[in-house]
């Protein structure tokens, strides 16, 4: 069971042209900046390579590619190296921007594209579940966020009111 193996496989899939671009999000993405927190799956955000002549994009080529290399379908996940991996298209302009501006990090010589800390924090604010609020709080307390960059993102994506509420709820003594 190794996440590094998952990253290597996704890189290869990108090199083979199955996906255009990817970035790691969710708890695994957050681990690049924060302390590790137990998670059961890996969220990979991707842009699909649309097949010629087709208007609708399908994740099927991804599944076919991975199954041919030993991956196993498990519900909406593909299990790679023991980890259930979920492939997600960008579902909002914020996630689309996060995917475009993802950063490449080095994991023992393996390049990994990951959402920036500011985008992960903004996505947590937008998603707004209890665990997302906890993650956002961790980001704030870690000092890993560029305040200027984070403020610009939440302004661009109309999250200022949500941030004000969060600030009042969790950051005001």
């Amino acid at each position: 069971m190794r996440i590094q193996e998952v990253i290597r496989t996704i890189n290869q899939m990108q090199a083979d042209g199955v996906i255009e671009r990817y970035a790691i999000g969710g708890a695994v993405g957050a681990t690049f900046y924060l302390e590790p927190v137990a998670t059961l799956d890996v969220d990979i955000f991707i842009t699909f390579n649309a097949e010629a002549g087709r208007l609708l994009v399908s994740p099927q080529p991804i599944f076919d590619y991975l199954i041919a290399r030993g991956g196993v379908m498990e519900g909406e996940h593909v299990v790679i190296a023991g980890w259930p991996v979920q492939f997600l298209p960008p579902h909002s302009p914020l996630v689309e921007e996060a995917l475009n501006e993802a950063v490449t990090q080095d994991v023992d010589g393996i390049p990994a594209r990951v959402f920036s800390a500011e985008h992960l924090a903004a996505i947590a604010l937008q998603t707004g579940r209890a665990k997302d609020k906890a993650r956002l709080l961790q980001f704030v307390e870690s000092g890993k966020l560029s305040a200027e960059r984070f403020q610009a993102i939440i302004k661009r994506h109309h999250l200022v009111a949500a941030w004000d509420k969060f600030e009042t709820q969790f950051l005001t003594p």
Partner: protein
Amino acid sequence: MSLDLETIFAGKRAFHTNLAERPIAEKLRMLDALRERELAIRGRTAPSASFVFREDPALFRPKPQ
């Protein structure tokens, strides 16, 4: 060891910061281990009908006349 809360909280903060500052490869290995442990715990405590803890409902009876 101290029983002073401020010292305890400062120690906890330092511990979390130290974890966050570890090399990425090491933190990803921790995620691998955390998931294995989580799965082991879930497997051991999978809900089964015989294992469910139920509280007896309160008994409401009319007061004897």
